[in-house]
Point group: C2
Chain length 122, copies 2
């Protein structure tokens, strides 16, 4: 089940973080995997974080498996040949629940970092 947190309870892992962003983007429209990857790369690179596409696909898959997302396919217009996999929210309840749970988790992580900054650099 919940692999959103390591057993020791240290910081959130990348997978869970990506899932959160994926849900959030897909709530506001339809997206396909590579497009999401590129958007996230772009959005985070100024913080030195560059997510890799296989990890994004794995996150999408988990969200499918959990029944949060569904998908459909579509022929891309501009390119004659190339089929694209679009993602949509399947279960909004679950999506919101996930977001809610992750908020607490993000805040917990923030406290961990804040504590370190205060403890170590007085």
């Amino acid at each position: 089940m919940s692999n959103d947190r390591k057993k020791s309870g240290f910081l959130i892992n990348q997978r869970a973080f990506l899932k959160l962003y994926l849900i959030s983007n897909i709530e506001n429209g339809r997206w396909y995997g590579m497009q999401l990857t590129d958007k996230l790369k772009d959005e985070f690179k100024h913080l030195g974080y560059i997510p890799k596409h296989p990890e994004v696909y794995r996150a999408l898959k988990e969200l499918m498996d959990e029944g949060i997302l569904k998908r459909g396919t579509l022929k891309k217009e501009d390119s004659h040949f190339q089929e694209i996999t679009l993602y949509y929210i399947r279960d909004l309840e679950k999506a919101l629940e996930y977001k809610k749970k992750m908020k607490l988790e993000l805040e917990r992580c923030e406290q961990l970092l804040k504590k370190a900054l205060l403890d170590i650099y007085p």
Copy 2:
């Protein structure tokens, strides 16, 4: 060299975080491994983080290998038989340098979390 950050540049890993706390504690006195483990467990458990002893020992070892810490042994007084391994700062320059570098890293991580909290929960 620097395994203090994953290639993708996501959040800091536990090892680096522990190294920081180990340096910081050992700066202010002598400690042995299990003692440090227990102190950290205790200090972080209210945030759901419970470091495991092998990870602490691995962190200590890395700090030794990097020339930041040195160690000595000592017979424990109260217990007749039991030898303890104490740690001291070997190279204060390096220790401070590590702390300095990690400060930036912690702040970067903080920004990552803060961004998510703002982006996802407006």
